[in-house]
Symmetry: D3
């Protein structure tokens, strides 16, 4: 039994990774999981937040947001509502945690990298696309810092990070759910993993349903295979040279 979009249960949507999408940030990646499109921009600033100042450690954080026009029905703008919603907060924190798991903040030196993940078009799996794209933007920002001679240590990235959703739909475990499946899934799980096959984060939820331990095990199998495939596509994208002009050593902050 094929899915609406013709995929097998354990197959990812078409993944496209475009580096150098914007001109100003040190890393700027448009990532697409099917119709889901997220712009991941890694901006570098010298120094760290005050609470971390003088520690010798760098800082990596993320902010996730959705354009009002990204969803089927227009969403209200959080700046107009005057506050960031719970879901937005939750996803921003997840992205930040996930990326910090793969970087040695001492090696980064006292630099801050902010990764903005702005959803241009939403069709399910925006947070997992964001994490997967954010890693590529982060890698470009690290390359940029290295060229500028601003890293405390040449290679702060210890592994690659990718993420994918998996769920139970129509009683079947399925990978990388589009909105049409996500909205009626009985169980929904997001898995963040490294290219060494280890886990960074899992979040599995059954709203209005519960799930057996054996289902969880099957979902993990499928998700980890999906993450491995995403890691392969990230590596492929990063094999091309840096998509902009690298700074001279001791270059100015960007």
């Amino acid at each position: 039994m094929l899915r609406t979009d013709g995929r097998n249960d354990d197959v990812l949507r078409d993944i496209r990774i475009t580096r150098g999408y914007q001109q100003w940030p040190a890393g700027s990646v448009l990532i697409e999981f099917g119709n889901t499109r997220v712009l991941c921009a890694a901006s570098v600033t010298e120094g760290v937040p005050r609470w971390r100042s003088g520690s010798g450690l760098g800082w990596v954080t993320a902010e996730y947001a959705m354009l009002p026009s990204a969803t089927h029905t227009r969403g209200d703008r959080e700046s107009v509502k005057g506050r960031v919603g719970g879901r937005t907060h939750e996803i921003s924190r997840l992205i930040g945690r996930s990326l910090r798991a793969c970087i040695d903040l001492a090696a980064l030196g006292e630099n801050t990298i902010v990764i903005d993940c702005d959803v241009i078009q939403a069709d399910g799996g925006t947070r997992t696309a964001a994490i997967t794209g954010a890693y590529v933007a982060l890698a470009d920002a690290v390359t940029w810092l290295g060229a500028a001679g601003r890293l405390a240590d040449p290679q702060p990235l210890s592994c690659a990070v990718s993420a994918v959703s998996v769920g139970v739909v129509d009683g079947r475990v399925r990978l990388d759910l589009p909105y049409e499946e996500d909205s009626r899934a009985e169980v929904d799980m997001n898995v963040v993993a490294t290219d060494a096959g280890t886990l960074i984060e899992i979040q599995g939820t059954g709203e209005g349903a519960t799930f057996a331990r054996s289902t969880l095990d099957r979902m993990l199998d499928v998700a980890l295979a999906g993450c491995a495939e995403l890691n392969r596509l990230q590596a492929e994208a990063l094999a091309a040279p840096y998509p902009g002009v690298l700074p001279e050593p001791k270059g100015k902050r960007r």
Copy 2:
């Protein structure tokens, strides 16, 4: 190798459940996991939020908060800061989702139950204590609604819900972490489960570390055993009669 507080790795802290702690809410439970103390109050109102009105379905939601004096160092009050933080939002949503997994909202009828989980004293595991206590408060509120003749169906609760934390500390998988262990855990996971042994939610995170699939499997084993013990203690507490005065049928809203 025993833990600081003398427990074995797979043993819960002392759990105490006090029903009827406050006089006004339909359910009011003080739950203690060792030194962690959370006051869980279930308040009932007639009707449902506007977006749900007319559906015939009830609504259950939760709000988690921490007293400024609950933590080792005094925390700022979120009302004074003028906004609810990301962590607070995240936990409130988790509690609400977890409780909705065990209740049939059609059977509840067009009533709203808000469960306030206010942490009186924090020593690790406040969110899992909150979920475990909130279930007991919810059960009392359902009893209250039943006595008032306001349920659409006599038994809306389909299972009991409990939650516990589990983590990797000093390289060992340990159950129900106090703050001293939690703050230096390599991996931290919260598991919400039913008394049927099925899962409602799992959230596992390795900040600054990653973890193997086999570690995840071991953590799940330990957590599910912990949840089963918590379910036993909940049932024991609920075996006593309702700790207040039940309303007459068609009683006024409380």
Copy 3:
């Protein structure tokens, strides 16, 4: 003519004072005026707010709040509404002013004591219970600072502070009104006094009614007698030793 709860007009409700209610704050007191229960926690931090820095003077301030579940009908959470209401502000300021009247801020040294008064259960007179309990928590915090060798002067407290409500109900002047009386009082007054019998603050209001000078005089008589009785109970509670572990001199901040 006795009151609903059997008291004479000029008699206080049952007062209970429990010191050491929480483990972290330097002073933590649960005070009960009948069914009204307020948790008063005094947290100590080194240093003072910026506008006071370098003055050699300490600072004492208070924050009052109500748990949503404390009232007969659940109240909305001020953190969720995104701002502190006028009544909350007013009471917080009153508590802070009242406590500052009994402490020599130069003797306190450049330390800040924040007193959180969180209402666990409300049945009238929450602000007066809060002031009365906050004084006891403040006294414990001062003892704690003294043991730590952090006071500029050994005894900064110049007097004890207590507070009580008094009102005109059914045409009679009555002391310490529970909610049932408070809600229909013609005149409502709060009196804050010292154990020397002097006044710190009086606030008397007739919403929808006015009152004669002679009624005011009678209310003051009754309230001052009530405050004297509360001072006696505070002294009794403080006669027992400090309910926790005192720091060593030059101990760390708590």
Copy 4:
């Protein structure tokens, strides 16, 4: 011993009351207590707030604010800070309560009167000037409503309301303190009274000092005499005809 401005201890500053200061509101009064100048505008709208709708009762409320340029050192604008401060809230509530004590809300009919008290220049006693001026603006708004045929009953005002400050300065009880005295007063009290000599509200505070019952008694004597003089001046001002064009019966809302 005369005061800095040459007055005796129990004498008011020069009081000036200008009706019809603005053209749009139904009542608009500029009141001056010496250099303190407050613009009190009473605006009328048909209907009442939702929570009062259908009760047949009207509503009277007040909003107090200070121009940034009114004080010796420029104050920050509360609209720019994004919230109303505690002191502003407190005074707004006091003015509203005081005015509601003199009006029969059933006689007012389902109309709302909002009294804006904007301080143009501050030199002590702004809240008492505001109350005294607000009463005059309210009286004009009631006249306006009467002419429009919109009162449920011809005379909703049951008494006149005035207010004055009194304090202990240099050990002496003094009436109507300017900023120079107010800022160093040992005790500070505001008294709101009716032209029948009864009390509506008293608020007495000793920040950094306490005061004896006998001092309180003396302050009340002086304040009540001051209020009586203010009532005389209000009556004198209101003896002149309405300072604008009165509406025809059944006139449109203003």
Copy 5:
């Protein structure tokens, strides 16, 4: 003397208009003025804001925002700051006013069109690019409404709207300033015009400089010629068919 990018003083940058950029909104246009890229999305909803309800008139409004990563130095997110800044407000209002000048709101019927203008990359002239692109998105949304049979009148658009910046740089009047010129311009003006050559809005400012009437006249000449060229490019873009699937008459709201 050529400009940094080789243009003559009165020549536009390369303009690119891409319709159908997103799948959900009724109109979605990516417009590029050189390196400035703005995504303009027109979302349609049935009904109008409450204050306009029952008037038979439709409503068109706009919201402008900038991605944090759009600028040379990363900007703070307005949702995180908790309020929309003055510049953002000002530009949103300008876009809305400009579009309302070209549409007959009675012909639109009781529909609301919200045009979100999100700046993907900023290099000067974002507000003028936004207006020019928003018109094209609006035209597509009107086509969509017409196909759905939801217009009160078949052709509500009375003219086309475009906008361009003009300024004085290095003493010369120049058209369509990139950031490098804009940031050092002595005078800066934005002109919104119709394809009939009439004006909708002009805003000219000399911060830190003033300008002669004759300079203003020359700037208007250049800007109006630029607007005419933009109108030509809009018409060219709109000559192609609607870039998505049009609804059936009486189609559901989109």
Copy 6:
């Protein structure tokens, strides 16, 4: 054809300028354009905002606001709504920009002047009255700073600034529109000019209408003549001596 108030099309309303309206600010001017009354207060503080600190340059900024009672129908207070509206922001920024065009910020030295423009009564043209009055208040504040010996250079003001509205009403170009004309104008323009006849800012808008280039030219002619007349009245007002007590050299900050 005369206008409702009997003026010819190109004639200003009665203009009154009262210096020294308040006692505390260094400059305080009540300006009246017919029934429009705006209080413009220039407050001086030593130092500049942090982002400008150490530059040797001063800063001039403005805040515009409207009293709730200033308009025909009472407006909500922005402090109560918790945020400054778009229109308020826009006008505040316009006033600040306009004044900065006439002052040499290096000559001002590291002082900040904040100009509060509070509308006491609104009848059209409040922003142009505010700019015209603000200039006079600014001139007084500069005189005050000069007397105190706090200017870096004796004469920082390079020109005078005035502003006026002009519009098309009933098909005729008219100067200085009162509310009655403003509310039905087809085109509305504000012009800010110097006493040298040069322009600082023009903002012209046709909401619901467009206008020809020739109409714009005619509006500019009329507005510039109006500004010249306003400059004459400003000079006349400033010919009288400073309306308060000037500080001694090296006087304290005011």
